[in-house]
Amino acid sequence: MDSENEITQERDPEQTRKDTLFDAPPMAEQERMVEAILFASADPVTVRELNDRLPHGCDAAEALVYLRKRYEGRGVSVVKVGDAWAIRTAGDLGFLMQKETVEVRKLSRAAIETLAIIAYHQPVTRAEIEEIRGVTVSRGTIDLLIEMEWIRFGRRRMTPGRPVTFVVTQNFLDHFGLESARDLPGIKELRAAGLLENRLPPGAIPGPAVQDDDDDEVIDGQSELFED
């Protein structure tokens, strides 16, 4: 950061004045600004939003690199949530926060499993969820997860009936402290074991999902999400 300031100071005053009018503030200042914006917001802020709010010419992504480093090991940390950033208290200090704890709704087993299936298989249709669980998914379960803003509708499948798909949200990632769906626990192993494939049943295995014939696309969706 200091080097930045030095560069500024080396310039002649006329030049400097012009710069402050038309150029971006020094990186140290940009870092402060990003810090202020992230601190002020309860929800993650995207790099794009940051750049929109910072003075013209700022580079929020670069400022974030410095800021993240600055907060390493502190009581709060700068975390990535999807394509957005947030400040969250360090996980090891949860015990201090009983006062702040909000009663997390006790989710039913069906809801938890449905959520996990959506997270690991997204984008996934209702029929596919039902095939994996072997039971119909009640409307209430999906509604609850949508209401909690943990899942949302994804793109429709381009298959007969154009079924809707479900994907997890930024709120989901934020709630479980995940940078992206790629960071779901054990997802690499599951993928390697072929357990995230929606294998076509060889015959007619009873289950709600058998009629669904868009399995190819599911595989597309997954590989799309996880290829790197």
Partner: protein
């Protein structure tokens, strides 16, 4: 299938403890989330890795479960019975030598897929448990307690152009000309009024009298009012002539118009 060399012995191989376990399951039938869940629970009694599970054995366990439920007159949901029928079919496929004329997947393929489904469901359950065991926001880590909302500052900027300015001024200055039309009664003397007035006065007009005499008081000074009153009175006179009550004459163009009573 490698762990069940004697496929035919399957049912008999079921231990007493397994049968007891199956009975315990029946009592809890409402606790299962469908046939696949039940199969997964049953598979645990085999105490082997899901990868090595005997599907045939599992099918037999399931069928025994359904049989027991029937004996106990427990109503099973339709999908449990559909699964039982399918497993019975699978069992026959696994036990009988393959019929080369028959189409469709082999018993082994079907069994492998069921094993995959069970393994996948178990994997998802484990994943769900791992997910829920993560640090969660609002429980283990926290968001900002005093979020500072973006303050929306609304600035209103007004515009006006020269034309609007001009129009506004013209509007003010020509207000009288352009006000909504209303009859200005003040300066209008109607024929009805003139008729009323003349009917009262004409009785006294035995001799030729100028029309201007009949103009009402106060209507002669202002030229506009005089014009209105004159026109109305003249029109009224013509009405009276028509009615045969009055005679009218004018010696030449622009000469005074004179009236006198017509005696019947």
């Amino acid at each position: 299938m490698s762990d069940t060399p004697s496929l035919l012995d399957g049912v008999e191989n079921q231990s007493v403890s397994e049968r007891l376990a199956a009975e315990a399951l029946i009592v809890d039938v409402d606790g299962f989330e469908g046939p696949l869940d039940l199969l997964l629970t049953l598979s645990r009694t085999q105490k082997v890795d899901l990868m090595k599970i005997s599907i045939l054995h599992l099918a037999q366990q399931y069928l025994a479960f359904v049989e027991k439920a029937k004996q106990l007159r427990i109503e099973l949901a339709a999908d449990y019975l559909v699964m039982a029928a399918w497993l019975a079919f699978l069992k026959s496929r696994l036990l009988l030598p393959p019929d080369p004329t028959e189409e469709g997947p082999s018993g082994e393929e079907l069994a492998a897929h069921l094993a995959f489904q069970l393994e996948r469901l178990q994997a998802m359950r484990d994943a769900a448990a791992q997910l829920m065991a993560r640090d969660q926001m609002g429980r283990d880590f926290f968001r900002r307690g005093i979020p500072q909302e973006m303050e929306q500052i609304r600035k209103v900027s007004y515009t006006a152009n020269l034309l609007e300015l001009m129009q506004a001024y013209s509007r003010l200055r020509t207000r009288d000309e352009f006000r909504p039309f209303v009859m200005d009664r003040e300066n209008v003397f109607t024929m009805e009024q003139a008729l009323d007035r003349m009917r009262g006065l004409i009785g006294f007009a035995g001799d030729w009298t100028d029309l201007s005499i009949y103009l009402p008081d106060g209507w002669s000074a202002n030229p506009m009012r005089r014009r209105a009153a004159t026109a109305a009175t003249f029109a009224a006179s013509l009405e009276l002539v028509k009615a045969g009550k009055v005679e009218i004459r004018q010696s030449e163009t622009f000469a005074p118009i004179q009236l006198r009573r017509k005696d019947q």
